[in-house]
Symmetry: none
């Protein structure tokens, strides 16, 4: 019984993953205000396939994600993260990378990290404001 529930949950989790990347792509496409066919053309993939991806029916390869990212004018990495291919390391991948960068002075590092934190704060408060309005 417990094992069955565990398998069911795993299946649902996988299905959710497909929906995650599909929802994300649809959202970005909506933000860009282009139709499914337009994005498919920009990305160089077939529009039925893009439709299936958005609805979580198919799981695209990294190459297809790369093409979709190009069509959306966003980084492929962002799509990889949504697809679970690339890890989004919480709390500090950017911080770590900046601090470790030997081509920057310490002062420049601080400036960069200040800008980064400012952006993050802006996005966090905008996110809270959205939640408050709803």
């Amino acid at each position: 019984m417990d094992k069955k529930n565990s398998v069911d949950q795993a299946v649902e989790a996988v299905a959710d993953l497909g929906r995650d990347i599909g929802d994300y792509i649809r959202e970005q496409r909506s933000n860009a205000q282009i139709s499914l066919r337009q994005l498919a053309k920009l990305a160089g993939v077939s529009n039925p396939y893009l439709s299936q991806i958005e609805r979580g029916l198919r799981k695209p390869s990294a190459e297809i994600l790369q093409q979709i990212a190009k069509g959306l004018r966003i980084s492929a990495e962002a799509l990889y993260v949504q697809a679970g291919i690339l890890e989004q390391r919480v709390g500090g991948a950017v911080v770590d990378a900046v601090l470790a960068d030997t081509e920057l002075t310490e002062r420049q590092k601080q400036v960069l990290l200040d800008v980064y934190e400012t952006f993050r704060r802006e996005n966090a408060s905008k996110h809270s404001a959205d939640a408050t309005e709803e």
Copy 2:
């Protein structure tokens, strides 16, 4: 004739890509001094398939690469770069981290990377000036 040569070259280029990741995996495995079967077991993929990958006969998905990376105890990103899924960007770690950060908008990412590149350019010219004095 020209078109045929162009197609041939494209085919060879694709085959080379397969050999690139395959050679790289074999090399890492050799460094780790483990057999193909041992790595396959550690990675959780079938050993015939791993063999085919190493010989460039098959093109593994990102998920399989992730598993192989785990078995080799190396980062998945290193394999993605070899497979052409991920770009190895100049100034890599910072750029990669910024692009993959889902808490930033695409515009903020560009701003941050612009600042970063500006700093690096400053340091590069300062570095050249130092070299000239020496």
